[in-house]
């Protein structure tokens, strides 16, 4: 691993580490708000920002940050207005952003090839100053996403309730959107604008397969994102492949592995569930024979949502249609209802 002694590899690793941490952290809230594609939309808009930077020969990253933040505020305001037009507004941003980017780059007298560095990332050309900006922004994003987690969670989960609880819903929503914009522009150097959304969403989707709580999801997603980003850089340092694409493919590989595991976990939970004590406790008050009879037949299986028998809600429990009559779980046996 002598490659690791090179400065640019170390910088690339550090950049990958912090983006891998920050992108899923903020991405978790986007997924919770059902805005998984917002990162992608912001990425497209940031492209216009990059082009503006090229045009004025200033730092493309700085202009990208500004333009992406403006766009995120705009998107949040549109979202707040109502849900139906939000989807279309997102599409407008996508196409406006990418067309504006290409158009202005042309005006700036640069070729589209210049844009490639930003579209697909150029983690190995990250310099000292870029690194510190990246690290600082990522730290802010991670601190906010983790530190404010209970509030941000409650607001994304049920904005009405949060408002009645006196939380500044609009302020926090804007914060999430702006942090997403910042994250996108930070990740521009590592995975590139076209793939940044992947690093925000895929680790979250993977984590969801394995977790049951929001906090677990947030932390596992951050761990997975970091793992994918760092190993992606390591791979591309040794084999000649594009780092951004490698990072995203590794993240997707993680999802492909977690998905079947998640299926098994969910299935196991469901099988364990149908006759939770809840229903039985209520039933125990009734003596057997009160108004029902025990079914004498043998059961090859436990009735449950997966057993294939039609489930019929019946008062405080569920009956299962079996051979033309209804079975209700009761202690260790089934009653006829």
């Amino acid at each position: 691993m002598s490659l690791l002694t090179y400065d640019f590899v170390q910088r690339a690793l550090l950049a990958a580490f912090v983006t891998g941490l920050a992108a899923p952290a903020i991405g978790t809230y986007l997924v919770q708000r059902r805005q998984a594609l917002m990162g992608d939309g912001l990425g497209h808009v940031a492209l216009t920002g990059v082009a503006v930077g090229l045009w004025f020969s200033t730092s493309p990253v700085a202009t990208a940050v500004v333009v992406a933040i403006l766009a995120s505020v705009l998107m949040e305001l549109v979202r707040e207005r109502g849900s139906t037009s939000g989807d279309v507004a997102l599409a407008l941003l996508f196409y406006g952003g990418i067309a504006g980017g290409v158009f202005i780059t042309g005006l700036a007298g640069q070729s589209a090839a210049t844009l490639n560095r930003f579209l697909f990332g150029s983690i190995t050309t990250v310099d000292e100053r870029d690194i510190w900006v990246t690290v600082a922004l990522a730290v802010v994003v991670v601190l906010a996403a983790v530190g404010l987690a209970p509030r941000l969670f409650a607001i994304a989960h049920d904005p009405d309730f949060a408002r009645v609880a006196g939380l500044r819903v609009r302020g926090y929503n804007l914060l999430v959107s702006v942090l997403a914009a910042v994250t996108v522009t930070v990740a521009m150097r590592t995975v590139g604008l076209l793939l940044v959304s992947a690093l925000m969403v895929v680790p979250v989707a993977t984590a969801q397969q394995l977790t049951r709580t929001f906090k677990q999801t947030l932390l596992v997603a951050m761990a997975l994102g970091t793992a994918a980003a760092v190993s992606g850089v390591l791979v591309s340092a040794n084999v000649d492949v594009a780092p951004g694409a490698t990072i995203v493919l590794l993240a997707l590989g993680g999802f492909a592995l977690a998905w079947p595991v998640g299926m098994v976990l969910r299935r196991r939970r469901r099988v364990a569930e149908p006759f939770s004590d809840d229903a039985l406790d209520l039933d125990l008050g009734l003596e057997l024979g009160h108004d029902h009879t025990v079914v004498p037949e043998e059961h090859g299986h436990d009735h449950g949502p997966d057993c294939g028998h039609q489930a019929v809600p019946h008062g405080d429990h569920v009956d299962y249609v079996h051979d033309g009559h209804r079975h209700a779980p009761h202690g260790g046996h089934y009653d006829e209802h």
């Binding site: 919770q32 939380l167 709580t213 999801t217």
Partner: protein, 270 residues
């Protein structure tokens, strides 16, 4: 003197260009348990949302605990159970996490949960009988159990005013009994309750007053009723030639009024 917990004067709400609430006068005093009844679409949820500041008023004003709603600061004193939404969020969340968000009004940003916050959350989950499911994901619960989670979330803040929009919809009878007991205890402690419901069920003996909504107006406000159809038929019908009243602001008018206007004016447009 009884403290006024909710007071709404001349309340009018317009949604999507249509008047939804008109001429609402409602006062709820400390310790009262007020049931709001009415047909689907009569404006019960809108009334609740207007009181809580979730839907803006076009006319009139709301006071909470004696303070104008826009300057009200005591949100921690209010517990809210919204009418159930079927959508679960895109990320898993455990029962504990959802109920814990009921404590946020008591905490500053970045402040971790204190022992008493955790106790309140645990107690609330206990109260709705979900303690063995506290760590489970909400999406694995049945609809009625999810409703109980929302009830627990409102209880966790130990509110002085509980506003509940159809809290027992889809909740089984046994759990409704438990819920009625919880409310009974809260009422004994002096909690004020505003409750939207279609069926009173076991809650009935708790109710101290009933308000019936009809087409965005309060059609009845008085001693408890079983159902909104029991409203005493006290109002007089207008004789056919009687001109329709326009007794609210001009920009808050129903299509019926508009038609009446036309009819009065030029006899057209019916």
């Amino acid at each position: 003197m009884s403290e006024q917990v909710i007071r709404i004067t001349d309340g009018g709400v317009v949604l999507g260009g249509r008047p939804i609430l008109r001429g609402i006068e409602l006062t709820v005093n400390r310790g009262e348990v007020v049931a709001v009844l009415g047909a689907n679409g009569s404006g019960k949820s809108t009334l609740v949302r207007a009181i809580l500041g979730l839907t803006p008023l076009r006319r009139g004003s709301v006071q909470l605990f004696g303070a104008p709603a826009d300057r009200f600061k005591g949100w921690r004193r209010i517990g809210f159970v919204p009418q159930r939404t079927t959508a679960t969020a895109g990320v898993p969340a455990s029962v504990w996490e959802v109920v814990a968000s009921g404590r946020l009004a008591q905490l500053r940003p970045l402040q971790p949960m204190r022992r008493k916050d955790k106790d309140a959350v645990r107690e609330a989950i206990d109260a709705v009988g979900l303690s063995d499911r506290a760590g489970d994901g909400c999406s694995t619960l049945s609809g009625g159990q999810q409703q109980r989670v929302l009830i627990a979330r409102a209880l966790a803040g130990r509110p002085d005013l509980l506003v509940l929009d159809e809290p027992t919809a889809g909740v089984d009878l046994a759990s409704q009994d438990t819920f009625a007991e919880i409310l009974r205890r809260l009422v004994d402690q002096g909690t004020t309750i505003l409750l939207v419901a279609h069926e009173m069920g076991p809650l009935e003996p708790l109710i101290s007053r009933t308000v019936v909504m009809r087409d965005g107006r309060i059609a009845y406000d008085g001693p408890p009723l079983e159902s909104f159809r029991d409203v005493p038929h006290a109002h007089a019908h207008h004789p056919a030639e009687h001109r329709a009243h326009v007794d609210y602001s001009l920009d808050v008018r129903t299509p019926v009024d508009r038609a009446a206007h036309h009819a009065d004016g030029d006899g057209g447009l019916r």
